[in-house]
């Protein structure tokens, strides 16, 4: 680990002021950032601990929820309103990491956690464009079983590993951001960038910008929603494929649907195409399957991850069938 200094502001203004310094980084639970610092992949000179900033979960006037960025993952997953109105979010969170990590991890940190690409982590011995721009990517022709097939670029094929973000993507969540110049909001689906030529730039956040919270809009159909994660062991493993879905069926026809995928894409993947293909169509297994397949029409499989499209289609179909039935 490279030596650094540490600050713990108690309000957003102080955090933003400190955050303007070169080499400054915000620190949530540290479950990702500190690991990366130990590996010297991240080398901030100043850590600004933002766990003392608001982390409450509050009702909003439009009938949704506003979750403070410092809220712990566990607190969100256990929250009554979250469980009742957005069950897929609670399930996505508890499907991730371990109890101990979720107790530490914050919502802000979870959004901005970095990829688990093996070569990204191998600072000493592997090439990675995300770590060192222009260095090359050892994953494209290496071990890429866990990598993405959607949204990839010739520069980077790493997945965004978060479970929580997949649910947030499906739920039309909006990220609240502050900078010294004021505040702005960004839909979660626009927060993360596709890697393109610059995989090192992962979000639309400007340097020093602080995530202050996430707004969930009122979304009645989310009360009937699910998150399913497929992984190599029963717990404590990142997703091979995950599916967040909410479905409203009326008289055998899909009235509305929210669908997002994890494990298959370079960012939390809202399945717009599949949703489009489903709305106002009969809620049948064939249609579910066809819609999921449409989402993967442009998938780019690599050496080891060719199974992901089929797995995602099967899992999506099963989740939608379950939501449509009983």
């Amino acid at each position: 680990m490279i030596p650094f200094t540490y600050a713990r502001p108690t309000n957003a203004e102080d955090a933003l002021r400190q955050g303007a310094a070169a080499g400054a980084r915000y620190l949530g639970g540290g479950t990702n950032l500190v690991d990366l610092m130990r590996q010297t992949i991240e080398q901030p000179g100043l850590l600004i601990d933002v766990t003392g900033l608001p982390g409450a979960i509050e009702e909003t006037p439009d009938g949704g929820l506003l979750i403070g960025a410092a809220a712990r993952n566990t607190a969100v997953a256990e929250h009554r309103a979250v469980r009742a109105r957005y069950p897929m979010l609670a399930r996505a969170i508890v499907a991730g990491a371990s109890g101990q990590i979720r107790n530490m991890a914050t919502v802000g940190g979870n959004l901005l956690q970095r990829t688990r690409c093996l070569y990204f982590y191998d600072h000493a011995g592997s090439r990675c464009n995300k770590r060192v721009p222009g260095q090359g990517c050892d994953a494209i022709e290496g071990f890429n079983r866990s990598h993405a097939i959607l949204g990839t670029s010739p520069a980077c094929v790493a997945t965004h590993p978060s479970d929580m973000c997949v649910a947030l993507a499906a739920l039309d969540a909006v990220v609240h951001i502050r900078s010294s110049g004021g505040g702005r909001t960004v839909p979660l689906t626009d927060l993360h960038r596709l890697p393109g030529d610059h995989p090192e730039i992962e979000t639309v956040l400007e340097p020093g910008e602080l995530v202050t919270g996430i707004a969930l809009p009122a979304l009645p159909l989310a009360a009937r929603s699910a998150y399913r994660k497929v992984r190599d062991r029963a717990s404590y493993a990142f997703a091979l494929v995950s599916v967040a879905a909410a479905l409203e069926v009326e008289g055998g026809t899909v009235r509305d649907v929210r669908l997002a995928l994890g494990g298959v894409a370079t960012k939390p993947w809202r399945a717009w195409r599949a949703e489009e293909a489903l709305r106002s169509r009969p809620a049948t297994a064939e249609n579910f399957r066809a819609a999921a397949e449409a989402e993967f029409a442009e998938a780019r499989p690599l050496r080891d991850n060719g199974f992901k499209a089929a797995l995602a289609v099967r899992t999506t179909t099963a989740v939608l069938e379950e939501l449509a039935g009983g």
């Binding site: 688990r116 093996l118 592997s126 290496g142 071990f143 494929v241 199974f307 899992t315 179909t317 099963a318």
Partner: protein, 769 residues
């Protein structure tokens, strides 16, 4: 039974000393004892210490003015270091020393494990930071000592190296293409031919012939390797995490040109080894750096460090072919293939071991080839050979059973051999059929539906499978023990043996209490010091027998000493060692138990406060007469998602024939632990070595999967408890038998559930789509 019911009850009937040899003749009299400490489910003696955090492990020993070590590793598989820039590291805060091949002390090479030289403990016989040559990707290239662990780690990250890379073999296919060599175990070629198996196979009525693959695996003991050590002049004191205290002491003495007595290795607690925790470069480097810096050093490997420095299980590719008659009898059994290793170590992955002892077959062809890679040396990992070999063999048997249309248990029992098929020796103790019958009944095997893919519970396909477990019973030479008895009735055993979580001290206290006719509370076992008697290895599941035989020898010597103290008026006067027995805290005549004297009176009479005897165990001649093995029958039930291919093991039963069980509680833990590790082997463990670079790219518990709690179902274990008449205490070691057979039982259950046969471990969801 409660944990120590019966434990405190001393023997009421006199018990004779054990025999002075194990080759035949007299079995251990302890075999006949029931209801005493032996076999009782006694809680481990160090359980409280460990739960409270009071047991001090190697990385926790504080030494005055100690510094902390961190390693830098090579990033190429083979070549030379052409630039090694340590200036930034040397100038970093808190740095005490940067050691590289340029300033490391000259050290003599030390023999590797299984090398022709005795006492080998090193993972390989490569030079340790003596020159600019690189032999594997991950080889330590520098040691940094810092005032804190963080400072050492920071400085290590500042070291910059460039290499002149040389062509390296880093692909298994390439290694196979180059051909390799006949593999050998301790000089013995791993090859056996009886009859013309290929011809018998072609002529057979029914046959299976397939290739099975198992991956590289790494060690992930809960305690990563660690050592804390200090020099005092030419004396070196080493607090190590090792299962070979005496060999480590001897090896370090070799490396630094010392007398063996000048090196003191202490290893009272080891947080799991499973085949690791022998001697790897970090220990030698820590001693070298401490000598150079003149400061005590702690080297605690990071998890990544373990992956880079400590070897794991070799990758294998195995062909199993069986030719059988319509009634199931085997005409031919072929088990051949390749395992990956380096040229400069001696550890094979002898995957043909199960085929050497399990089945009668008209002809046999068994062979292991070593193919060579430029990588970290492979090493032992729980049941080396048997764990992966039984996956291939026992999967093939299942495939054959289906082809013949016979129940797989029945097929196995039909081919039970009368004597060892490899050596022709009689089995010392083989009750596999009993284990199968008892296990099958408890598991409900009879209800099995042999049709694959037929049963569904929602999206979950269910199936059951079984497989045979087997592991040899061994006893290494070199065992010795000191036994001390004091007037207050306390007995103490001293052995240079090891406790890695399996309950050594507890089990051996039970054995010794029973031998001496003392309550369990009055017996203690001291271990984990190289200064204690014997050269023990906690490995190959043999330490229990090795200590057991040493304690018998020491006990005989102690009884002889006690009898010498008895005067002419003593009730024991004139009796020899084999004429007396232990009973109720003293000795009595076996012929006339009323002639009894307490230990206290004997010591009193001889005017002694305590008496001590040390003796060496007789050489393991029993192995020349008998084929000695443990056996087991594994039964597994799985659920496989028809949607995602995810496998959940829902039930597991292991029914073992592993001799007399010494401690029902710690034995059950060992067997269950082995089975859990077997579930990892079956479903998830795999080291990813990038074939372009020879580099391990998942050196972390986040990316290298071992079973999590949610992967482990209720595991039932049972045993025949039939003693082996040719083993000390009638007992077999049980550290490894648990993992054997498990991967095949899982694969066979998955086949029964889905109709998909996976011959390539680990069985991940993508292989079942």
């Amino acid at each position: 039974m409660t944990a120590d019911a019966g434990a405190a009850r001393p023997a009421r009937v006199a018990i004779a000393p054990g025999p002075d040899g194990w080759a035949g003749g007299e079995p251990d009299p302890l075999i006949r004892r029931r209801g005493g400490p032996l076999g009782a489910p006694v809680s481990r003696v160090d359980g409280g210490l460990k739960v409270r955090g009071a047991a001090r492990f190697a990385a926790e020993v504080p030494l005055a003015s100690m510094v902390y070590a961190a390693l830098a590793f090579s990033t190429v598989a083979r070549g030379r270091i052409v630039r090694l820039d340590t200036a930034a590291a040397e100038g970093a805060p808190g740095v005490v020393l940067v050691m590289t091949y340029r300033n490391a002390p000259r050290m003599t090479a030390v023999p590797a494990l299984l090398s022709p030289a005795p006492n080998g403990a090193m993972g390989d016989e490569l030079p340790i930071m003596q020159d600019d040559r690189i032999h594997w990707n991950g080889q330590p290239i520098a040691v940094v000592l810092g005032e804190t662990q963080e400072q050492a780690g920071h400085a290590a990250s500042l070291i910059e190296a460039s290499y002149e890379a040389e062509p390296a073999v880093t692909s298994f296919e390439e290694a196979k293409r180059r051909g390799g060599e006949q593999a050998a175990y301790a000089g013995q070629p791993l090859s056996l031919q009886a009859g013309d198996a290929e011809a018998a196979l072609s002529a057979a009525a029914v046959k299976v012939d397939a290739v099975y693959r198992t991956p590289f695996q790494n060690h992930n003991a809960i305690e990563p390797e660690a050592v804390t050590l200090a020099w005092d002049g030419d004396d070196l004191t080493v607090h190590d995490s090792t299962r070979m205290v005496s060999r480590v002491a001897w090896s370090l003495a070799q490396a630094f040109g010392l007398k063996e007595e000048q090196v003191h290795v202490s290893s009272p607690y080891v947080g799991g080894a499973f085949g690791s925790k022998t001697l790897w470069q970090h220990t030698v480097l820590a001693a070298a750096a401490a000598r150079l810096a003149g400061r005590p050093v702690r080297m605690a490997l990071s998890r990544e460090g373990v992956y880079r420095v400590v070897g794991g299980r070799a990758r294998t590719e195995q062909r199993v072919a069986i030719g059988a008659q319509a009634d199931g009898r085997f005409d031919a059994l072929i088990h051949t293939g390749a395992m990956a290793k380096i040229r400069r170590n001696y550890v094979p992955e002898p995957f043909i071991s199960p085929a050497m002892c399990l089945y009668a077959a008209g002809s046999l062809k068994l062979d292991v080839r070593a193919v060579y890679l430029d990588m970290l040396a492979n090493t032992f990992m729980r049941a080396p050979g048997e764990s992966v070999g039984s996956f291939a063999l026992e999967s093939a048997i299942d495939e054959l059973a289906e082809r013949i249309g016979m129940d797989p248990v029945e097929l196995r029992l039909r081919n039970e051999p009368a004597a060892d098929p490899g050596s022709g020796k009689p089995f010392s103790s083989r009750h596999l059929a009993e284990a199968y019958r008892a296990g099958a009944e408890r598991f409900g095997w009879a209800s099995r539906d042999p049709r694959p893919g037929g049963r569904r519970d929602g999206e979950w396909l269910t199936g059951i499978g079984c497989a045979t477990a087997t592991y040899p019973h061994l006893r290494f030479p070199g065992g010795a023990a000191r036994l001390t008895l004091s007037k207050d009735g306390q007995a103490r055993v001293e052995v240079a043996a090891h406790e890695m979580g399996m309950g050594t001290a507890t089990a051996q206290a039970q054995v010794t209490a029973e031998r001496l006719g003392l309550p369990l509370e009055q017996v203690s076992v001291a271990y984990g010091e190289s200064s204690f008697p014997g050269v023990f290895v906690a490995g190959a599941s043999q330490q229990t027998a090795q200590i057991g035989a040493a304690v018998v020898a020491a006990h005989r010597a102690l009884v002889a000493e006690l009898l010498r103290l008895c005067g002419g008026d003593s009730p024991l006067a004139g009796l020899g060692v084999d004429q007396v027995g232990a009973r109720g805290g003293g000795l009595c005549s076996l012929a006339d138990p009323r002639r009894w004297l307490s230990y206290a009176s004997i010591l009193d009479g001889g005017d002694r406060d305590e008496i001590s005897a040390e003796a060496s165990a007789p050489p393991p001649a029993e192995a020349e007469h008998w084929s000695m093995h443990s056996f087991g029958a594994d039964f597994c039930e799985v659920r496989v998602s028809a949607v995602t291919g995810e496998t959940r093991v829902s039930r597991f039963l292991g029914s073992f024939d592993c001799g007399r069980v010494i401690n029902a509680k710690t034995a059950a833990s060992q067997l269950r632990g082995g089975i859990i590790m077997g579930l990892g082997l079956a479903l998830m463990e795999e080291t990813l070595i990038d074939e372009r670079s020879g580099r391990i790219v998942n050196p972390s518990l986040a990316e290298y999967h071992v079973p999590a709690h949610a992967d482990v179902p209720e595991i039932d274990v049972m045993w025949t408890d039939i003693p082996d008449p040719h083993a000390p205490m009638g007992a077999h070691g049980i550290g490894e038998i648990g993992i054997t057979g498990v991967a095949a039982a899982v694969a066979n259950a998955i086949y029964n559930a889905t109709g998909t046969r996976v011959r390539d471990l680990p069985i991940t969801p993508d292989k079942l789509l």
